[in-house]
């Protein structure tokens, strides 16, 4: 039976593992890789698109950049031949730098784990009534576990020389995924505040 408490990290190609560990280990590694990618990207955005507020921990101000808007306006009260029939209005407005940068949300979206497991031992046990009560659900009283090792092949032509290797193939595919909801919400909030506010004449009771 696999020694689940063994924390010895020395690589051993012939060590026995539970089937859960064999399947979950590459997936957990991919999940950690995903988290590292996200962390790196978040740190990059914070360092380049925001400035830290002085005196306040974990509080950032967006770096604003200026953009120009030009629009042609036609005066319908004038003739096309008139000089000021068409005027070009130009205004400047500020946009957070964060809204312009093409942020890629790169993440692992497909993992294929391929191995052949040699079952070396099996174990089974019965759940006690106490165990069933703790879960609060109806479960099979009898549980089973497979233990094994990754089956490898042997190479070598000569009967006197043999190399044993275990093979575990993990194929990973990463691609840009839609931005997380949190980031979309921040972009949406900033975008809604981009519009320049219109100057209106304050109405008085005498108007």
């Amino acid at each position: 039976m696999a020694d689940l408490k063994n924390r010895n990290l020395k690589p051993n190609a012939n060590s026995e593992l539970t089937i859960d560990a064999l399947i979950s280990s590459p997936l957990v590694a991919a999940s950690k890789a995903n988290a590292e990618m996200m962390l790196g990207q978040t740190q990059f955005i914070l360092n380049t698109c925001f400035t830290k507020k002085e005196g306040e921990a974990n509080s950032y101000d967006p770096i604003m950049i200026q953009m120009s808007l030009s629009q042609s306006i036609i005066d319908s009260n004038k003739l096309p031949s008139d000089e000021d029939y068409m005027t070009i209005k130009k205004i400047n407005f500020e946009v957070p730098l964060f809204c312009l940068i093409p942020i890629n949300s790169l993440a692992i979206d497909k993992i294929t784990v391929d191995f052949v497991m040699e079952v070396t031992s099996t174990s089974s046990w019965k759940l006690t009534d106490e165990d069933i009560d703790k879960t609060g659900k109806r479960v099979n009283k009898k549980q089973a576990q497979l233990n094994g090792k990754i089956k490898g092949g042997s190479n070598g032509d000569s009967q006197y020389t043999k190399e044993c290797s275990s093979k575990l193939a993990v194929h990973i595919n990463a691609s840009p995924l839609p931005l997380p909801m949190g980031m979309l919400a921040i972009l949406d909030l900033y975008s809604k505040n981009i519009n320049p506010s219109q100057k209106t004449k304050r109405l008085t009771p005498y108007d």
């Binding site: 953009m67 120009s68 808007l69 030009s70 629009q71 940068i101 093409p102």
Partner: protein, 63 residues
């Protein structure tokens, strides 16, 4: 090539205007498909956007 995922709402009519950051740096202006207002990058902000885009490319290569 304009990335349709990069849009900015038109300050006039709020219609999303697709744009490309690299083209903005080269001085290209993008028009609103609804009201034809044209948006472009201001000259004073060009250095900071250029610096950020360079850092982004470096980050992608090093990652």
């Amino acid at each position: 090539m304009i990335n349709k995922d990069s849009t900015i709402p038109c300050p006039v009519c709020k219609t999303p205007i697709p744009f490309d950051a690299q083209s903005l740096l080269m001085g290209v202006s993008f028009s609103c498909p609804s009201c034809s207002a044209s948006v472009g990058l201001s000259n004073q902000s060009r250095p900071i956007v250029e610096k950020t885009m360079t850092e982004l490319e470096t980050f992608k290569k090093n990652k």
